[in-house]
Each structure stands twice: as C-alpha cells, then as structure tokens.
Symmetry: C2
Subunit: 179 residues, 2 copies
Amino acid sequence: MDAYEKLEKSRKRITESIAQNIHLYGLPPSAGRQFGMMFFENRPLTLDDMSAELGMSKTSMSTSIRSLSEAKLVERVWERGVRKDLYEVKDDWYQIFVDMFTVKWRRAVSLHTAAIRKSLAELKELKHADDITDELLAVIETDIEKLLYIREYYDWLDRLIDAFEDQKIFDLVPRLEEE
Amino acid sequence: MDAYEKLEKSRKRITESIAQNIHLYGLPPSAGRQFGMMFFENRPLTLDDMSAELGMSKTSMSTSIRSLSEAKLVERVWERGVRKDLYEVKDDWYQIFVDMFTVKWRRAVSLHTAAIRKSLAELKELKHADDITDELLAVIETDIEKLLYIREYYDWLDRLIDAFEDQKIFDLVPRLEEE
DNA sequence: CAATACGTACAGAAAAAACTGTACGTACAA
DNA sequence: TTGTACGTACAGTTTTTTCTGTACGTATTG
C-alpha cells in the first residue's frame, strides 16, 4: 500500500463515520459520503465533479446536495467565469450543528404547536356540548391537561432553539476547552 | 359526529403530528403512533393491548417498543399479578428530550472520535514515511489540521451532551416561562 | 412432570426510500 | 434566432426498511 492509498484509507474512515451518523441530520448515508468527500476536497465542486468522484448519477448529486443545503451543511458559492453551480461544505462545524438543530426542530415545534392549538380548541368547545356524560367529560379534561402540558414543553423547546440560534449555547458550553 | 368521535379526532391529530416528527428521534412513524396512543391511554399497556389498539401484529409491537425503550420514550413497569410485560410512556417530556439527545449523540461522538483517533495516528505515521513527495506531505498536513479541528468540535459536542445530561441546560433555558 | 402463556428470532412479503436515465425548461452563447 | 450547457422533474428500477406469520425458547401454572 503506497502513501497515497494510505491517505485515501484515512479519509475513507472519516467519511464512512460521517455517512453512518448523518441520519442524525435526517439524511441518508450517501449524502454523508458526499459531505465527507467535499470536506476533504479543498475547493468548491460542481455536480459533475461529485458525480465523478462518487461514481453516482448527477441526478442523485442534485437531489442530495439540495438536502445538504437545506440542512445547512453545504452552501452554494459563486466563482466568476464558472457557469456550473458550485458547492462547498461550510467550515464552521459548530455553526453547522446549530443550524441543523435549529432548522429541524423549529419545523417540528411549529407543526406540533399548530396541532395542539387546534385540538385544544376543539376539546374546549366539546366540553360544553350537551350530549356529554360525566365520564366523557372527565376524559376530555384529562386530555386538555395533557395538551396544556405538552404545549408548555414545546414552548420550552422553542426557547431552547432560540438559545442555539442566538449563540447563547456557547455561553453555557464554550467552544474552547480551557486547560 | 358524536362527542366520542370528536375526542378521537382530537387525539388522532396529535398522534399523527407525533408520528410525522418522530424521525427526529430516529424512529419510524408507526412507533410515533404507538407512542401517541400510549400517551392518551392512562394506564400501562401490554403488547397485546397495543396490537389490538393499533391493528398491527404483536411482533411489530415488540420490535418498536424496544426502539422506543432504547430511545427512552417509554419504560417497562411492573404490576404484581400481571404476567405480561407492561409499558408506559414516560411522563416527563423534557427529560425524554434530554435522554434521547444524550443517547443518540453520545453514540455518534464516540464513533467519530474513535475514527478520528485512528486516522490521525495513521497520518502522523505517514508523515515520516520516506516515499513522500513534498506535495503529498502538504496534503497530509492539511488533513491533519482538518482532523484536529473536528476532534475539537466533537469535544465541544461531548461537553454539550454533558450539559444536557446533568441538567445544566435548564439553567440556560428554564422549564417555566417567567411572566 | 406436562400444559399453557408469553416475548422474540427469523424468513419472507409489503411498503418506502434511494438511485438512475430520460426528457424537458431555462439561461447563456454565438 | 439557433445551438449548447446546465439543473432538475418525473417514471421506473433497485435497494432498504418495515411489517407479518410461524416457530421456538423460557417461564409460570397446575
């Protein structure tokens, strides 16, 4: 095994490690491989570059680069004179984590909150319907309690996301370990 | 639509909302439905209960309840006189979030860190091999830099997980909104 | 001891997701 | 305007994941 192969092996280990954990970002392993490859390339890549490098179709590259962009792991960059789209991995991994966390969870909180609001309104209405037995009323009240509880939880989660988004998390957990 | 159906509809909305976001916990939608159903039932359930309630096989219930347990969303409870396994959703959703976060990310950090350590060792070794061109040496040095950077990042992530695990996150983002 | 109840391993079926190739729309070039 | 280069929508294929039914091991009951 020559030096170049050893280098490749070292890179491949890291890339595979990323590929196998990228599901935490809601992405399939191949997107992780794409990201890993781009991380070691020190230049912006075109879809054709990626396709050649990974031996996958350009269509796939196009699809997964969009996912990677939406999760904020890569970004499009411009270089004058180049007509093709160029992409580059973001270089601040702390910020990558924060962005991904923010994007993923904000959406979830928003969807959940909407559902809770609707159901809560329905249940409060239902309480005053006239074909309600005492037994059913008790169940409704319990459900309302539950929904109020999880609404409170989602409010906390929303504030947690705020704390990430506006960098307050780095006050609690500083970037650099002090020796 | 009678009162009971309205109640069911309200519950179903919440359950579906959970089902569609449970992928953030690394679980399939059906596990979310299972969790949602268990959340509204105010009692521990057996696999047979779940099977009947969701109209799915007992085998499926067994598999997904294990995933739910591993992600710390539900737990097994004991009731004397009952031979079947009983499961209940955990009632502290804040803690559910913290546990899931901790479990998922700790594993990822651990795997990544191991890979980085190995590759870093290889590259440092490779630097001193005698068939290395200056050009290749430069690439190796760049790779080492990259690995040192992400190692630092994973150290931060590890400390972030610590902050969740030992509840410090609630100092930064308190459970109750103060008015 | 035998009989029954229970949970899950395992293999195959069904469903979902990822991947590919073609075809098309858009933008720039000549 | 026509021609070319590019990215992606879409339909079909392949791969992966999820779900089911059977069969088995263990534990409890009589």
